[in-house]
Symmetry: C2
Subunit: 280 residues, 2 copies
């Protein structure tokens, strides 16, 4: 079972917002929360245009922050967009995300990781089950569970275009994962995860007990989820792309140490070691 708090704030501070007490309770209980209508249509359109430029520029790029599908070489994810792109840098500092992270984690925060997950129509691939904390702890040296992912939905996330599934309540548990972490594991794991994933028996038990939620949401919504919440997504053969931008905030009181695997830290683009918000 988990030892760390989920909501770090003291009860009186709950009312300061931006989340209401009911929202905090839902987040604490389920390990995720869907915030609807956070970004306007115009803001989403601007971010989508920027995302499209990154996609086009990335096609011929050999940047290490660009992760491709294991079979097709099509772009799967682009990392560190908060450092390399002004539009997404601005997003990383948006109070509509930051203030929520600070409220829940009861401290200043910084961007631990950012990325665009392109899940294109027709051939978007699945992301297998994982809890982020497992990797962040073992491979990046994140000491405690005191980080939150914000997925900013740039397309409508529907019931059938590979939307995120989460196991509600799984953030309260710890599901051990198989195998030793191979050297430079991230180069493969960001494309298709094989090591460091929970075994099928543990997953079956977890899901049988807790079920699966798939909180579909309109573009402009934000799905926030706790760093230890088990999640994954199916493929997408529909014509409707499912493109989301992730900003992961870690508490400044939870700065990275040496990886708990004893191996070398992963590169900066996948796990920032600078505990401050950067303005580019």
């Amino acid at each position: 079972m988990r030892h760390d708090p989920i909501i770090y704030s003291n009860r009186p501070q709950y009312n300061a917002g931006p989340l209401t007490l009911d929202e905090l309770k839902l987040y604490e209980q389920n390990g995720y929360l869907l915030l609807e209508n956070v970004f306007s249509e115009q803001e989403v359109a601007n971010m989508l245009a920027e995302l499209q430029s990154i996609w086009v520029a990335g096609a011929a790029s050999d940047s290490s922050g660009i992760i491709r599908e294991p079979e097709s070489e099509e772009i799967r994810s682009v990392f560190a967009v908060h450092q390399n792109n002004t539009v997404f840098n601005r997003l990383s500092r948006d109070p509509r995300l930051i203030d929520v992270a600070c409220q829940v984690l009861d401290s200043d925060v910084y961007v631990h990781q950012s990325r665009i997950n392109f899940k294109p129509g027709f051939r978007g691939k699945d992301f297998y089950w994982h809890s982020d904390f497992e990797t962040w702890h073992v491979e990046d040296g994140m000491p405690r569970m005191r980080a939150i992912s914000f997925s900013v939905l740039l397309d409508d996330n529907l019931l059938y275009n590979g939307s995120l599934m989460l196991v509600p309540g799984s953030h309260r548990k710890f599901v051990a994962c198989m195998g030793e972490t191979p050297k430079d594991h991230y180069k493969e794991s960001l494309r298709k995860q094989v090591f460091g994933v929970p075994d099928e028996e543990s997953l079956t038990k977890l899901v049988t007990e807790s079920g699966i939620d798939m909180p579909a949401g309109k573009k402009g919504s934000v799905l926030m989820f706790e760093c230890n919440t088990m999640h994954g997504s199916n493929s997408n053969i529909t014509p409707f792309a499912r493109r989301n931008v992730f900003m992961v905030y870690n508490s400044v009181k939870n700065a990275l140490q040496s990886p708990f695997s004893g191996g070398s830290p992963r590169p900066e683009f996948v796990a920032s070691r600078a505990p401050q918000l950067v303005v580019i």
Copy 2:
């Protein structure tokens, strides 16, 4: 646009059942119909046990009717179960399917194709969009659109375990497919379809106009759909397998001819050329 009828019966015969007039209208309009609670829990359990035996026996078999995943060699589908298995032979002659097929097609029917689609938990792969008729016409020589697929649900088909998606109304249209059919195409296409699939522009237009339906249903339900209805399904990383048995009935007045591609007919296990119901 389509020239063939969807409901072949004359109006007075509608009332003979088993489908009601409302059900027939829904089927005519959407190109599919979900029939709930058709098979009892005990019947489903018996079929699942049989399916499990086929899975185990198939692991080491080199039978041509066993189709494996393109990457893992795990069993994807087993064909001709109405000919090779007494339980599924009995299913193929079940009046709860046959009588519906006869009612809609206004003639005697026979099994054109049967198969189990195993979509296991954790690693069930997607089935890309296709209309069955395209292949059955070109590769098998089925003259007209006068056939129906019945998918008998042996697991709960949920919103997130790779349930069938259908484009409602697509059975009224004809979406041309790309490319010439390569020789012995079926050996690859049953594993992963590349040729004979609609292009992305046509699919986008079709789905934008008509949407996508994903009729989730409990085990024991039957999803029937018209031979020209566009359908496909996403992958399944959940622990919940999605195992369905398909029985495809063709009208005896629509018996196969030489393939319209001019090529050799596909083997008997994938397209029966004997227009009668077989008792084994």
